[in-house]
Point group: C2
Chain length 196, copies 2
DNA sequence: TCATACAGTGACCGATCGTGCTTTTTTAGA
DNA sequence: TCTAAAAAAGCACGATCGGTCACTGTATGA
């Protein structure tokens, strides 16, 4: 049997869990609310996940998949280095402003909430963020030939991520529409300085 | 009567609430846990706060007071502009790394958690962050004579805050000890560019 | 078509949630 | 020291928490 129905339901549960976690935080997601939102009974959820934690784990994992797909979407077709970095940065800003209009970026929410809560959720998050960071670092290394140093590339990736975080707060909490302009200006200056 | 005992207990409750909110998030703080941690019964808490929300409000407010006292501590004695900004930035990094070793910065946690949850908590947070931001902006304006433009100052304050956020993630979630070096280097470059 | 594996329900568990109400213990001013 | 007020405990409430279990309908592969 290829359990088509079950997989579809499971996907809806995962998506809804991610949605709620992005808004209220993982620690404040309740099985009852998720069940009601997807039109199931609480006990129905347990046919798809053995525990709440397994459900959250799937939500975070799938959230990261969506994040990568969204941000890297057109990047492969672009030449490495600056064009790719600019595309990814813009996608990343969109990801905060549009795609996640309700709740903000699940990953950022998780990063702040879980940074001091050991467990599988935190482990998964760290691993995936580190992989993503390595990808950015590699892209910065492609900025110059001969390439810049490892440290310089990490420094640049650090700043890139910082501007994304700053943009998120400026846009979502402070409701400042200039957030995007600030972030883009800061990133452009970073690229100019790094590429030289 | 000057209710000395009551005030002391209230202060302990507020501090403990802030501590737990920084770790688990405001939405996941429970009265039972707070009560047990300060050595009271649940109902004892209600002699000091009319509701859980009032308690959280007090915790956030006091958390911000502590944040300001810590970060601005020695800044008043320093000349305006660069010396002050550098002191504040270093204090801010310390605030993340040392003072809040367990739980991280309460304000940052609140900023990410509450950015899409309307209510008095979010209102308080926004107001206080905006005031703090205005203070930073004024300090950047003092960097040059004649001063830089309003927009440039806001842009600089945005980047300063961004590096703080980046440092927090790099240090607390990714456990990278180079976080401080990255943040300081980025901030120094920002000051050099802005001051010129 | 038919058996069966799977999706989903509803009742229920013990624990804990936030919050009242009443009573007891502490505290501090006179 | 005595007393009035403040501080805290005790208890109970309805709701909800994550989770189990026995059961039923249904979709699917043979």
């Amino acid at each position: 049997m290829s359990m088509r129905k079950g997989e579809a339901t499971r996907a809806r549960i995962v998506a809804e869990t991610g949605r709620q976690a992005a808004i209220r935080g993982f620690g404040a997601v309740s099985l009852g609310d998720v069940a009601e939102a997807v039109g199931l009974s609480k006990s129905g959820l347990f046919k798809h996940f053995e525990s709440k934690e397994a459900m959250e784990l799937a939500a975070l994992d799938q959230g990261f998949d969506r994040f990568l797909a969204f941000n890297w979407a057109n990047a492969d077709e672009l030449p490495p280095g600056r064009p790719r970095l600019e595309a990814v940065f813009d996608n990343w800003l969109d990801w905060t402003e549009v795609e996640n209009a309700a709740g903000g970026c699940l990953i950022n929410q998780a990063a702040v909430e879980l940074d001091d809560q050991p467990g599988p959720l935190r482990d998964l998050l760290r691993m995936r963020i580190q992989r993503w960071r390595a990808r950015l670092k590699a892209e910065f290394l492609a900025l110059r030939d001969p390439p810049i140093s490892e440290t310089e590339a990490e420094q640049a990736a650090f700043q890139m991520k910082s501007f994304i975080l700053g943009h998120s707060e400026q846009r979502r909490l402070l409701d400042d529409e200039r957030a995007r302009a600030y972030a883009r200006a800061a990133f452009k200056a970073l690229l100019d300085r790094t590429q030289a």
